[in-house]
């Protein structure tokens, strides 16, 4: 059977302790603990459905072992809140019609959040490079692309879209 070990990390701003199997990935740990907005896509770091933010960086949680999260700060899609207001990135994706099946969306939102947190006004080339780890098969990315450009533009205009 599994040899469980304890680790702790900050999850969505709250310090938490978890029992982990040394062999399990962060994706499995999160989903096992109810953070199911982190989706299972390819288990090879190619699709980004399982993206979480670790210490400010978008990472594929299927490539990160759970133990590697020890002492880190992890943000999942649940960390963006559940109030009446959506996060501006979520809202932009919805407004542009960029949510089709929605399976890639939480990962897409988190990649974008990491990008905008670091640089509120990324240019087109930056968006293309930094969003290259989130595959979407429904939209052809055109509407995701315009949502990202709109968020960037709104930051440039002081929050107005």
């Amino acid at each position: 059977m599994m040899k469980m070990k304890k680790i702790s990390f900050t999850l969505n701003g709250v310090e938490k302790e978890f029992e982990i199997d040394p062999n399990e990935r962060l994706l499995a740990l999160l989903r096992r603990n109810g953070y199911k907005g982190t989706k299972y896509g390819c288990l090879e770091g190619a699709c980004g459905a399982c993206t979480v933010i670790m210490d400010g960086k978008a990472v594929a949680s299927c490539l990160v072992f759970a133990f590697q999260a020890q002492g880190r700060s992890i943000v999942t899609i649940e960390g963006l809140g559940d109030g009446p207001e959506l996060h501006e990135i979520q809202q932009a994706l919805i407004d542009e019609g960029a949510v089709q099946c929605g399976y890639c969306t939480p990962g897409m939102v988190l990649s974008a959040k990491a990008m905008f947190d670091e640089n509120p006004t990324p240019d087109e080339e930056t968006i293309k490079v930094q969003m290259d780890g989130n595959l979407c098969r429904c939209t052809g990315y055109e509407k995701i692309w315009s949502a990202m450009k709109k968020v960037s533009a709104s930051h440039r205009n002081g929050g107005k879209r």
Binding site: K3, K5, P22, N23, E44, G45, A46, G48, T51, M54, K57, A58, V59, A60, L63, V64, F65, F67, Q68, Q70, S111, V129, Q130, M131, D132, G133, N134
Partner: protein
């Protein structure tokens, strides 16, 4: 890969000690993405070296000293005159992977070597390895056959990588041919040139992905040295020198096309390096 247990190393000496003590089942992890390529399900004992002070890039006396645990994304974003590894980083898998993969892991673990090792060969990078003692080796001493590669990283921890800062008259070219931005490489080529008085004073060319190791193309280099640093040098390259290599076609290519693509990509990276070195375009 199957992990039996893990331990966080806090000091380099401690990591070395753990590595020695753990023996065959030891597996060093920095970013950890190389584990994706480990197909065996034999249990491994992981030594996590990602918390060691091996991060970041420092520039001193014309040399960039890169901590082995520096992520590819940090290499991509780093800005300094004469810094070229950002171009290699830009073509590395995808953002989520660039954020965790480290240059050390890419050099030490990820077969087949089609990213940083290729560039490091032409930049004449050195690796500083610590095992029972600390020593610095040229990357060319590591990447010429499997025994040397394995031996270099056995019971040793890669601390940092050093590469020279490029200065006026120097140029670097890099190409990684893939079907899509995050696709696997079919050919990776890199070139470094130094131009003095309009002539090619020094040139280094390396090829990866189609070879078991990123190899320097010494014959090709020799044929370019002393030539005028313009298009004619590239056009005059004698690719018969490639005949002795047993190229491995990838991504469904035929041997014939693979060879052709290698030639085009080598010419491309040499052209790019020359253009940069001469401050113009060829």
């Amino acid at each position: 890969m199957k992990i039996h247990d893990f331990v966080f190393a806090t000091k380099i000496s401690e990591a070395c000690e753990l590595l020695r003590k753990t023996g065959e089942s030891a597996y060093l992890i920095a970013g950890g993405t190389s584990t994706f390529f480990v197909k065996s399900r034999a249990p491994r004992n992981v030594i996590d070296i990602n918390r060691l002070p091996l991060k970041g890039i420092a520039k001193k006396d014309g040399v960039f000293k890169i901590g082995a645990c520096t992520t590819v994304n940090e290499l991509m974003k780093y800005k300094a005159a004469g810094w070229v590894l950002n171009r290699v980083a830009l073509r590395f898998v995808n953002q989520q992977v660039r954020n965790i993969s480290t240059i050390g892991g890419n050099v030490a673990k990820v077969f087949y070597w089609c990213d940083f090792p290729v560039a490091l060969r032409v930049l004449e990078g050195t690796l500083t390895l610590t095992g029972s003692a600390t020593h610095r080796v040229k990357i060319s001493e590591v990447f010429h056959n499997i025994t040397a590669q394995k031996a270099a990283f056995k019971n040793a921890i890669l601390e940092y990588i050093e590469i020279p800062q490029l200065t006026k008259g120097m140029g670097f070219g890099y190409a990684k041919e893939t079907r899509t931005s995050e696709g696997f490489s079919s050919v990776t080529a890199a070139a470094f040139v130094q131009v003095e008085h309009g002539l090619i004073a020094d040139v280094r060319i390396a090829l990866g992905a189609v070879l078991p190791f990123p190899l320097r193309m010494f014959d090709l280099e020799a044929s370019l040295k002393g030539k005028k640093a313009d298009r004619s040098a590239v056009e005059g390259m004698n690719f018969q020198k490639l005949d002795k290599y047993n190229l491995t076609p990838r991504e469904g290519m035929t041997p014939e096309y693979c060879r052709h693509l290698v030639e085009v990509k080598i010419a491309d990276v040499v052209s790019a390096a020359l253009a940069e070195a001469t401050g113009g375009s060829l």
